[in-house]
């Protein structure tokens, strides 16, 4: 089965008043149809920049280079991102974190989904309206015909997010990118939305790039996982092996610092220090100042992703 999304050696650089920020420093990813890949990381890891680079949504001042950035057989870097823009909203679509600010407060959700449908299909007005109701039903909006007339502020967070997903589906995308889609939602609503994603992927064969910092969401929704730190993928693998056979100290730290039962301890385990300043990355492995397992080599040379993890310590011991 050929890959839906292929990313090879992606670099994203921003110009900032303090210097060039190298937000994404050589990322390789691959997503197959019907597959959900979770991209995990904290603020500053470069996960959002990666997604925006795929969609061609980065500001003009950003510099995007890659050995390959393809959706199916379409080169997304061609024509300075014009190809990406043409496919955007159609074959590939994105859902953002905060449904309240992602929706236009002055238009009903029906009108907003209609706009998406008209832009990405050839349906007539009447047929398009019918499609809007179909989409709203598909994403689980109750009384879709009636709800289509509602304004965003009249709906709950969960319904707003469903409306956004409906807009994303309007163009029948083969790739869906969701950036922290449930972070702003309650846990029961989150469960509903994750179940919706699962259903959509299996029914439509859509591939899903799910960006999150919540390992619980990863466990519930992902098939494969890539963990990012300081602009690079530091660990990747199938979801079960990531949890049962963790290979990178950062991932181990993340798993351990999920607040849970203290047991006999009187403190929660935590990762020391703070994420690095993208303008002043440490030499060698960017995680080494916070790493409990570092060896000499870590401060000198940055490890490349080799198999499952980018870590000297793991390599030494396997």
């Amino acid at each position: 089965m050929s890959a839906l999304l292929t990313i090879e050696d992606l670099h994203v650089r921003f110009a900032s008043p303090d210097g060039a920020v190298h937000a994404v420093r050589g990322v390789d990813l691959e997503i197959r149809p019907s597959e959900t890949l979770a991209l995990v990381g904290e603020s500053g890891s470069g996960k959002s920049a990666t997604a925006l680079a795929v969609m061609g949504l980065l500001p003009g001042s950003a510099e995007v280079t890659a050995h390959a950035l393809r959706l199916g057989d379409q080169d997304l870097l061609r024509d300075g991102g014009r190809r990406a823009r043409a496919l955007r909203g159609g074959r590939m679509a994105m859902v953002f974190q905060d449904p309240l600010t992602s929706l236009n407060p002055h238009l009903t959700i029906g009108d907003q989904v209609l706009e998406a449908v008209e832009m990405h299909t050839d349906l007539s007005r009447g047929a398009a309206r019918g499609r809007v109701v179909e989409l709203l039903n598909e994403v689980g909006v109750p009384q879709a015909q009636h709800r289509a007339l509602a304004w965003p502020h009249q709906l709950s967070g969960g319904l707003r997010q469903r409306a956004l997903i409906a807009m994303a589906l309007a163009g029948n995308p083969s790739l869906l990118i969701a950036d922290e889609p449930t972070t702003a939602l309650d846990v029961t609503v989150q469960a509903q939305i994750l179940e919706l994603f699962q259903r959509l992927c299996s029914d439509r064969g859509t591939g899903l790039l799910l960006i999150t910092h919540d390992l619980g969401v990863v466990a519930a929704a992902a098939d494969r996982v890539a963990v990012m730190y300081a602009g690079r993928v530091v660990e990747r693998g199938g979801v079960s092996e990531l949890f049962s056979d963790t290979r990178h100290p950062y991932t181990r730290g993340l798993l351990a610092s999920i607040p849970g039962d203290l047991g006999d301890r009187d403190r929660l385990p935590q990762i020391a220090g703070i994420p690095p300043d993208p303008l002043a990355l440490p030499a060698g492995c960017p995680f080494h100042p916070r790493c409990a397992e570092e060896i000499d080599r870590c401060a000198d040379e940055e490890p490349l992703l080799d198999g499952r993890a980018a870590c000297w310590v793991t390599r030494e011991t396997t």
Partner: protein
């Protein structure tokens, strides 16, 4: 339980709204108590009224009815009745830490001035003494004393949240109400701040009311847990009792919905996510508020509002518990 430091009885709060009914019933009769050295977690989802409850307890919005009793050093303070100067002085013993680390600090005030504000307001210290106390507080929460001259926009979210905690501790309160204090933080920072709170609880014998929607935080920090739904409490239990033997259907649904960071376990769970949505706070249903979504609801659930009763050591508000 040792004598409670904070006692809330039958608290009700509503405020005007734009909708047809014109009233939003945010808090509909809440009873809760917190003892010294105890952490009570208040859990609920958006729209359940937990933030309104926090504000009502702190008297940032005056409750419609109900009692908020605080044990000060000189006796019981009926916060709900106090006004003006008396209320202001009583605030010394009950402080708050708010959710948004970016919005809870005045962007034009230095960190030192922000932390010193309670000291100045309550006349506890000034001048050099104040500066020394501020330095000590900043150190206590794991920030260098040098940060006192900086401004909020120069700090990260985690640092700002710690400043909020330092400020809350400045007046040496008996009770601290924390409203989603770690929700806006990254996962790795969350653990650091929670550890700080654990240390403070141990060292200062603080009573803490911790409002959160994150059950993982509950697991780590709470002694007792109260679950809130549509303006009222549906279950109150010790942490272990709640997590192991939840008695209210909503509590069970909530626990079911939290994804476990273990794909094997997660896949093995039979998950039926709770459908639908909570009723509007403007049109509160007659009977049990959860009846519309409850998987085991019976006829009388829709017409009769249940009351809180004790079942096996926990307090539950359900006809079927």
């Amino acid at each position: 339980m040792t004598r409670p430091v904070l006692r809330v009885k039958d608290l009700r709060l509503s405020y005007p709204a734009r909708g047809a009914s014109g009233v939003v019933h945010a808090v509909r009769g809440v009873d809760i108590q917190v003892a010294a050295g105890e952490v009570v977690a208040l859990v609920g989802e958006s729209g359940c009224g937990k933030s309104s409850l926090a504000r009502a307890i702190l008297q940032l919005r005056r409750p419609d009815t109900g009692h908020v009793l605080l044990e000060g050093p000189d006796g019981t303070l009926p916060l709900h009745q106090l006004t003006g100067g008396a209320l202001r002085r009583a605030r010394r013993w009950i402080q708050g830490v708010f959710q948004d680390p970016y919005a809870s600090l005045d962007p034009r005030m230095s960190i030192g001035d922000a932390v010193a504000e309670p000291l100045r307001a309550f006349g506890l210290a000034s001048g050099t003494t104040s500066r020394e106390r501020v330095a000590a507080l900043l150190e206590r929460v794991g920030l260098g004393a040098a940060l006192a001259t900086r401004f909020p926009h120069e700090l990260s979210g985690g640092q700002r949240q710690r400043v909020g905690i330092a400020r809350a501790l400045a007046s040496e309160p008996r009770v601290v109400v924390l409203d989603e204090a770690v929700s806006a933080l990254d996962v790795s920072l969350r653990a650091q701040v929670l550890n700080l709170l654990l240390d403070l609880r141990r060292d200062l014998d603080l009573a803490m009311l911790f409002i959160t929607h994150d059950l993982a935080v509950v697991r780590a920090l709470a002694d007792r847990v109260a679950v809130m739904y549509l303006g009222e409490l549906v279950e109150i239990a010790t942490r272990d009792a709640l997590l192991q033997t939840p008695r209210h259907p909503y509590t069970r649904a909530l626990l079911d919905a939290v994804p476990v960071p273990d794909p094997v376990l997660q896949a093995a769970r039979v998950s039926r996510p709770l459908g639908g949505e909570p009723p509007s706070q403007e049109r509160v249903p007659k009977g049990c508020a959860f009846a519309s979504r409850c998987p085991v609801a019976e006829e009388r659930c829709a017409s009769e509002r249940p009351t809180m009763r004790t079942v096996g050591g926990s307090a539950v508000s359900c006809h079927l518990a």
